[in-house]
């Protein structure tokens, strides 16, 4: 409610500001710089104005990748958020089960992105992978290197496996902070399990869910490593997301200008969506200022 004003605190922030300046702002400015120029190597640059942007925005390749990204992110959210809430609701609130569950939940989060990719790449192979072999043996034709549906399913399942834990942990933190009196009152009021969820647990989880949705959206929209390792963007272009396309363009084809323009557009899209999510969820009610009058 009230903030402590301490001028010295600003000096403490300075090192971080420098760090951010070097790691984010300056590279970003370079990207902005590239986005309006063309180069033929040898450090020769020409001003091209907004040409890269108009090219990009009318390019089918970009549109396709963007649509894929959106479908991917929304599928991820549609699966991970309800699943995460569900698992969090099932987790024990006290006793020895709590640390066990927490450690189990935290495990996938500790695995590096490329390792996750490699694990699933092997796991899903039809010849030696446990999953791939099993699916094929029961008659399901599963091959992520040839079948776009299988490739998509693999990438989505992989992400769900990797990141649902984060949603679970956030929701769990929200759930355990609900005072016991609320549950007691609900029992006295004869509330059903669903009503308890709808009117007590969900409103109290509102702020953590907001964080979960934002994090999962931003992260999944920027997905790169896992599909790159597993499918390499294929088969065809079926799992070529914006990030993969960007790298192809920048490093594979060395088209720095268009790639820079795309980075900027990409960045702006993420910013826009995050803002939309934030505003929508914040306005959907919740418990900001809830305790203001109860000091």
């Amino acid at each position: 409610m009230e903030k402590t004003i301490n001028n010295r605190a600003w000096f403490m922030v300075l090192p971080v500001l420098f760090l951010v300046a070097f790691t984010a702002v300056i590279p970003l400015m370079t990207v902005v710089n590239y986005a309006f120029q063309d180069s033929f190597g040898n450090n020769q640059f020409f001003w091209v104005g907004t040409e890269w942007f108009t090219d990009l925005l009318s390019s089918e390749r970009f549109h396709d990748a963007l649509v894929r990204n959106l479908i991917f992110s929304f599928s991820i959210l549609a699966i991970e958020i309800p699943l995460g809430i569900g698992i969090a609701l099932c987790m024990p609130k006290k006793g020895w089960g709590v640390p066990v569950c927490l450690v189990l939940m935290a495990l996938p989060l500790l695995v590096p992105w490329n390792v996750v990719g490699t694990i699933w790449q092997v796991f899903g192979r039809a010849d030696i992978g446990l999953l791939g072999y099993f699916l094929n043996s029961i008659g399901i034709n599963y091959n992520y290197t040839q079948d776009p549906v299988a490739a998509w399913a693999t990438v989505i399942v992989m992400d769900v496996w990797h990141w649902t834990s984060l949603v679970v942990l956030l929701c769990y933190a929200g759930l355990v902070s609900i005072p016991e009196a609320y549950y007691q009152a609900a029992r006295i009021d004869g509330a059903s399990r669903w009503a308890v969820f709808r009117f007590i647990q969900l409103p109290k989880m509102h702020s953590v869910l907001l964080i979960a949705v934002l994090l999962r959206f931003m992260d999944s929209f920027m997905i790169y490593t896992e599909p790159f390792v597993v499918t390499g963007g294929g088969p065809g272009n079926s799992t070529t997301f914006l990030s993969i396309d960007l790298v192809k363009m920048a490093i594979g084809q060395f088209d720095l200008g268009p790639a820079a323009a795309m980075s900027l557009v990409y960045f702006l899209i993420i910013l826009l969506f995050s803002w939309v999510f934030y505003t929508v969820m914040n306005n959907a009610g919740g418990e900001k200022q809830q305790y203001a009058g109860e000091e």
Partner: protein
């Protein structure tokens, strides 16, 4: 509405209690009459909340039986007991409107929407929140939220008792007065059995017809506010009720007088002093200690006088034991005052328990 009987209720939070000290509640036998207003009064850890949770069904007692209108409910769930409860911190459903909050218990029980509306409208008027029916519960003040908590109990026609767990903790002093008198009104109007847990004597005494004083997991006294004030059964009750508490002075009993040091205090007529008691004490409320000029009463040593506006508290000692006296506004305190005890308001305690009068 129901009569509540607690029959040999004992409770321990330990899985296999052995000594009496393992019990949070040591053998409680109590009856809450139908339509009565009761308060459970005691300091923290005295077992009053444990007792309340047993009544509401949030706890199952280790031993004993709980009866509502003669029917055993010891193992029934909270929902099945038809009680309502108001908690220390207001519990409201934040995302619902005030109206929906009140309708919630009815809708959960499948009451027709027409009846819900009639009942909720009535309760809204009674708890004085008609103007805020459409507001979300979230932005309301603490006292309004507590009224909603209470209202959710009132809307139900099958409520057998309303339980209160220190409901005024987060309410400002001025609002406490308003809420308390509204609560009293409601009790008169609806005739619910009400049980009110608190550590605040003023709340307990003003709310209840009968106050149950608890100490160390046991009931020390059950009585009307008047009985608790004039005839505390135990010196603890004397100390706990009243502000400042009762003066307790060690004495020796000789016939119908008590001797405190070298001074005699007359005891009420008809008292039967127990001769076997190891420890005898005289108890007198500061309100009943009158101050006299030198020679009139018992000599006291004055340590200080606190003026608290409405009255003054004289703090002093008699024969080395603390003695307080309350002096009304506008009454002067004599120089070198002495203490005069009103014999009809003087109690005798043997081993801390009140020595009764012969019938």
């Amino acid at each position: 509405m129901a009569r509540i009987d607690l029959d040999h209720i004992r409770h321990s939070y330990l899985p296999s209690p052995k000594s009496p000290s393992d019990y949070a509640l040591k053998e409680v036998n109590l009856t809450f009459e139908d339509g009565g207003a009761y308060a459970l009064l005691g300091s923290s850890g005295c077992g009053k909340t444990t007792l309340l949770n047993i009544i509401s069904g949030l706890l199952t007692p280790s031993e004993g039986e709980l009866l509502f209108d003669g029917q055993p409910v010891t193992h029934l769930s909270t929902e099945a007991r038809n009680i309502a409860q108001v908690f220390q911190f207001p519990v409201v459903y934040d995302t619902m409107s005030v109206y929906d909050n009140l309708a919630f218990p009815l809708r959960n029980r499948g009451v027709a929407e027409k009846d819900v509306d009639a009942k909720v409208t009535e309760i809204l008027r009674i708890i004085d929140l008609e103007g805020k029916a459409k507001r979300k519960a979230q932005g309301l003040t603490a006292d309004e939220k507590q009224k909603i908590s209470l209202g959710r109990g009132l809307v139900r026609s099958d409520t057998s008792a309303i339980l209160f767990d220190e409901p005024l903790t987060v309410i400002d002093p001025h609002m406490k007065w308003v809420l308390r008198s509204q609560l009293k009104h409601l009790h008169k109007q609806f005739g619910f059995t009400m049980v009110y847990v608190t550590h605040d004597q003023t709340e307990a005494l003003t709310f209840a017809d009968k106050v149950v004083v608890m100490y160390g997991g046991e009931v020390v006294q059950i009585g009307t506010p008047d009985e608790l004030f004039r005839k505390p059964q135990h010196t603890f009750v004397g100390y706990f009720i009243g502000s400042p508490g009762m003066n307790v002075l060690p004495c020796e009993v000789e016939g119908m007088t008590a001797r405190i040091g070298g001074h005699s205090v007359p005891l009420p007529v008809g008292l039967d002093p127990k001769k076997v008691a190891k420890k005898t004490e005289v108890g007198i409320r500061p309100e009943f200690v009158k101050l006299g000029a030198a020679g009139e009463g018992l000599p006291i040593q004055v340590d200080g006088v606190e003026d608290i506006g409405r009255y003054r508290i004289l703090r002093g000692k008699m024969e080395g034991t603390a003695l307080n006296a309350i002096v009304a506004e506008g009454v002067s305190i004599p120089e070198n005052p002495t203490a005069i005890f009103d014999p009809s308001q003087t109690n005798l305690y043997a081993d801390s328990w009140l020595v009764g009068e012969e019938a």
